[in-house]
């Protein structure tokens, strides 16, 4: 009888201990989350954010205007050179045109692959404190571009921004910059070239291991399909060269 009571007491003690341990772990986890949370320290935070957004928007508007002017100037130069055909020789103009195609200064039309990539559901990209694997990151876009290039894509664009060899794809917080221009999801990546090779490359588990896992586990939206009528626009950015020169040997 006494033994039974002792046993019952032990079981009760054990139960209480388990409750304490679980509660303790829970409190510990809560404390960590609390300590790690960033608390806005700035005053007039909303005003600051508003001014920053306005500044970013004004630079983006200016960038749009500058790029339009660049496109117009490049067109005018082409027309002027065409008019002066007898002085510049047709062969030179043909060489120039094929070089423009090579460096991405001509729009291209053709069959290719179209990929649509977007953030997972229920994540707020606009919140700067959200650092989340359910968002599409600049690194994801770089990996897809690399996979398409290894599949011999001849022309690529993301949301109509032509990707050339020197295109930077970066991020600032949750903002993705392609050719230093701010892009928002959904990201539509268009690539002209050998469709079966490109589809094979983007399906290759070795090419996009991280993204494929997040598409499966975190609902990142990813859809790739063959498109017979893609139009990849010309590159509209800066091609200035300040440091490079022809090497003629020592």
């Amino acid at each position: 009888m006494r033994n039974e009571e002792t046993n019952n007491q032990r079981v009760r003690d054990l139960r209480v201990s388990v409750v304490f341990v679980v509660t303790g772990i829970f409190i510990g986890a809560l404390l960590t989350v609390q300590i790690k949370s960033s608390i806005p320290t700035a005053t007039f935070l909303s005003d600051q954010l508003k001014v920053q957004k306005e500044l970013v928007d004004s630079y983006l508007d200016e960038q749009g205007l500058l790029k339009t002017k660049i496109v117009s100037l490049r067109d005018k130069i082409e027309v002027a050179q065409e008019k002066a055909k007898q002085y510049v020789q047709t062969a030179n103009l043909d060489t120039l045109n094929s070089l423009k195609e090579e460096v991405g200064l001509k729009s291209v039309r053709g069959i290719g692959v179209s990929i649509v990539l977007s953030d997972g559901l229920f994540v707020d990209r606009k919140n700067p404190d959200v650092i989340n694997q359910s968002l599409v990151h600049a690194a994801d876009l770089r990996d897809i571009i690399n996979a398409l290039r290894s599949g011999n894509a001849s022309a690529i664009a993301i949301n109509d921004q032509r990707i050339i060899a020197s295109t930077p794809i970066t991020s600032v917080g949750n903002t993705i910059l392609v050719n230093n221009y701010n892009l928002l999801p959904p990201f539509t990546i268009s690539a002209i070239g050998d469709t079966s090779l490109m589809m094979q490359r983007i399906a290759d588990p070795a090419a996009l291991p991280d993204l494929q896992k997040r598409v499966k586990d975190l609902n990142i939206q990813f859809k790739a399909e063959i498109n017979g009528g893609l139009l990849i626009p010309a590159y509209t950015g800066n091609l200035g060269l300040k440091f490079i020169s022809e090497y003629k040997g020592s």
């Binding site: 020789q89 030179n92 440091f243």
Partner: protein
Amino acid sequence: MKHLRKPKKRELSLLLTAILLGLLISLQARSFQNLGDVINRDNRADVFREIQILKETNDNLGDEIKELETQLEKASNNQDALQSVMDEIKKYEFIGGMMDVSGPGVSVIISEKVKALWLTDIVNELFSAGAEAVSINSIRLTNSTTGFDTIPSGQIMLNSVILNVPYKIEAIGDRKVLNQALSQPEGILERMQKLLDGVQVQVEEKDLIIMSKVR
């Protein structure tokens, strides 16, 4: 009415230990989550960096416009039109890798095998910092270069050539800006070295880098 039993010393110490355990588990979980995930591949720069990038981009676009206006003037004058075409041809031959080129820049040597994504990211960082030409193990990266391909043996292939270690990445441009972009605190190289424990990377500013044309 049931009275609550006063907790014993043993239970209180258990509670404290469990709180500590909870703290440790959470911290560990967070650091595991941080390791190796896609988020670490990009710099967590703030909005001021975005404004800086946009301003620099617009300044560069302004320079490009001035250059194009001069070019248009030349192209509109029959006597100078040929020169304008030849200037443009030369410029695009530089960009397209059809000429041997040289200039100041940086050289990056990675002594051990790394995944292709790190090479993609370093190249991206260099172009983002204004590199005008980049090569890896003497292969120029142009629009006609293929992407980095990882073959089943784990080696990286570029333009059907296997890249052997050490990987030597060279870039022509403003060497100080390029070096700073790579070597800044929390920059690409620091992040790579943190995640790939012990990988040796050497960055050197060079007065002259020579790159052969694409073959």
